[in-house]
Subunit: 195 residues, 2 copies
């Protein structure tokens, strides 16, 4: 055991800092160990590979995203349609802000999403579950019609790919993105609404 | 003037063949001239650059796509909702088939789309116009409600990005893509329908 306590959280923070400065290709276990002034064995004790390290960084960021989104999704003062709109709009805004402010970290996230990594698939599962629960509430309230809430939730996520899928990040700084996303969300809500 | 007639069409065909075999990075004006057994000046007389050559190849492919889509969009035997569904479904199927059968050529198309080239922007303009015209027909028939058909047409194209935007090509061979696209199209049609 080493003298100073080296916990996973400290390693993740150091990795995030290196990813931010040097990008996903140039952040190895050795780089992280050097940054912390420890042996690479100390890092390997917590993270078996470079891939595990970058997954941990993105997982921590997505945990924050999920915490914020859960608050919006569970704001029961809003009717289901407005909760759905708020959830989607908040999700877009968090992605756009991250892609703009922290492009190297976002590039790491893009790689993980393209690889359909566990961390990325878990996140999609969370989003589908949040959307599904609001759709079920909307059906119960008589506001929405949806025979298969899980399928519809996935369709909502697919129909908004252009505004949250990291593969589209290069388009997000267009001045039209916000208005275009609002038009898609309105079209989706009209599709869900009971007639 | 050269002895043999060298027209633009012949050059475009030779370029397409080279793109198919070697991809967008390795197809230069010189390669095309060598393939045709002519001087590179003969090619430059028609196409000023490698970029102009690959644009011409993609423009020819997209001309064929547009011809097929226009036939579907103008099949007035179908009610507007079914014409819209047929137009979207045909557009997806043509993209998926091209990405699968001709990946190098499709990679060229992806580059042009990402660059927002004239050829790609013209194509988006065509798609929006086709969708808009069907939406206007649907409103006239009392089937659809849409206050701004052009804006809604663009929203329909944005909401289906995952199924036609070349940036998503790597996801299209998933066995779920067809069912997922059908769910999104149904959600969109529900959104357009008059209640």
């Amino acid at each position: 055991m080493r003298g100073e306590p080296l916990d996973a959280e400290t390693i993740v923070s150091a990795t995030e800092e290196l990813l931010r400065r040097h990008g996903p290709d140039k952040t190895t276990v050795l780089d992280v160990a050097r940054q912390l002034g420890v042996s690479h064995g100390s890092v390997y004790r917590h993270f078996a590979s470079k891939a595990a390290l970058r997954e941990a960084v993105i997982r921590r960021w997505l945990d924050q995203v999920r915490n914020e989104l859960a608050i919006v999704a569970q704001n029961f003062e809003l009717p289901p349609a407005e909760r759905l709109r708020a959830l989607l709009t908040t999700m877009f805004a968090m992605k756009w802000a991250k892609a703009g402010a922290d492009p190297e970290l976002f590039a790491t996230f893009r790689v993980l999403a393209a690889e359909h990594s566990a961390v990325s698939c878990d996140h999609v599962g969370f989003l589908v579950a949040q959307l599904r629960d609001i759709i079920i509430d909307g059906v119960a309230a008589g506001d929405f019609v949806a025979s298969e809430p899980e399928t519809i939730a996935r369709a909502v996520l697919n129909a908004t790919s252009r505004f949250h899928d990291p593969t589209h990040a290069a388009e997000w700084d267009s001045p039209e993105t916000e208005a275009e996303s609002a038009a898609v969300v309105s079209l989706i809500l009209d599709g869900l609404r009971a007639r």
